[in-house]
Amino acid sequence: MARPKDRRPGYSRRAQYGIFTGYVIAMLGVVAGIAVLVVSLVNPGAFSFARSAAAEVARPMGKAGAEGRASGQGVFAAIGAYFKAGQQNAELRREVDAARANAVSMQALEDENRRLKALLGIVDPARRPVATAHLIGSSGASTRRYAVLDAGISDGVRPGQPVRAASGLIGRVIEAGPRTARVLLVTDPDNVVPVRRASDGLSAFVQGASDGRIDIRLINMGTNPLKKGDVFVTSGSGGLYPPGIPVAVATAPHRDGATGHLAADPADHVYVLVEQAFSAQARDDLQRMIEDGAKTAVEEP
């Protein structure tokens, strides 16, 4: 490659000043950037308006991408299914038989459950999702793990609401714009979810490790009772996440907990559900926080 042109402009004062101003603005950029960075570290919500405005602009692009992803997966699945049709047919028939048997016993259990609940006088509140949305973007290059939803305040989405997919928890909303919202994924280190082991209710919490996996930490530490394959579901404590949503599967137990992978990989899901915060008190708290404009409080699990 040839050497770059010499940028000393000779005797032209105008050109000299132009170059000088360029350097001054560049240095100003560094200084201003540091100032902005400090502000956003102290108050993470400070620039949320700019981010949500930008997300609004990119919304059509992300939406097209999300639909492309859905149809792309559909195409691959269809081709795969074509090759495996025979084997799959036999497998499915076996599964259907097993499921039919299960369904009968489930029906019995459900009846019993209803009778017992009626005895105890428990009323199951019907939880309707706030919105159904696509994930239209994610912070793919950053160690912070965010995703963007294509539903926002106009659909009833508010900061703090949990987001889930059919197979498990995705994260919670932290910023809501008019028609987009930002979701803090479970894999972000900032997101701490109270969970319990599905089999025996052993309580723990899950923290993101920002590499796509998560840390499962036990609350009662002693000997580590975790085994590979343990499934963890939300415990509902704290009142934000509804209980019983699958969060993680333990893969590698270590001294005081385990590393696990997500129950619901955000990449696999075409639609996600935004739900109300679980307990009425948490909902009221969130509402108050939004009115106060105190965004930091939403960070608490």
Partner: protein, 184 residues
């Protein structure tokens, strides 16, 4: 129309070059537009649960800057870094600082090493990319209060490997940029 011109034989292009000049909007605006578009790549169909994507916009900035020194002004890191911050998910301001510093660093590299081949450019870019991703992870770690995870290793490697590809893409874009579309 543009693709026809790209595949046209050289004589064809030369004949059309008489009395023609590049469109000013394209010649000046294309680098900015492509870098900003690369910033918006987070709105791609890929929803990543780990930081695996190379920082495309940053690679694009380096490639344009290395290919055409002096075309992007030295202060270009300020607006482009700001735009990248809107989409990257990093704490706001990290892009502004790091991109501005990058432009200044490239200025120093230009002063120091006048005659460079592609391998030296790649080496310089490698250093800058590794430093950039490490700083990004540090700043993000500062925001979460969680120690720097070692997950950026694969990301750095991937970015280094993909850099030559990005330079080829930028070279192609540069050809589009200088197409003689304006009649004098």
């Amino acid at each position: 129309m543009i693709f026809e011109k790209l595949t046209a034989s050289p004589e064809d292009l030369v004949r059309k070059r008489i009395n023609r000049a590049p469109l000013p909007a394209l010649a000046i605006g294309l680098p900015w537009a492509t870098i900003m578009l690369a910033s918006m790549a987070s709105f791609s169909p890929v929803i990543a649960s780990a930081p695996v994507m190379p920082p495309l916009a940053y690679l694009m900035l380096l490639a344009w800057r290395m290919m055409r020194p002096g075309m992007l002004p030295v202060w270009a890191g300020l607006p482009l870094g700001f735009f990248d911050d809107l989409y990257s998910g990093q704490p706001f301001g990290s892009g502004i600082v790091l991109w501005s510093v990058t432009m200044l660093a490239l200025e120093v590299i230009d002063e120091r090493f006048l005659w460079r081949g592609f391998s030296q450019d790649w080496l310089a870019a490698s250093g800058l990319i590794a430093a950039y991703l490490t700083m990004c992870a540090l700043v993000a770690g500062l925001a979460t209060g969680y120690p720097l995870p070692l997950v950026i290793g694969p990301q750095i490697l991937l970015s280094l490997v993909i850099y030559p590809v990005i330079t080829r893409v930028v070279a192609l874009l540069d050809r589009i940029r200088l197409l003689p579309l304006k009649r004098l």
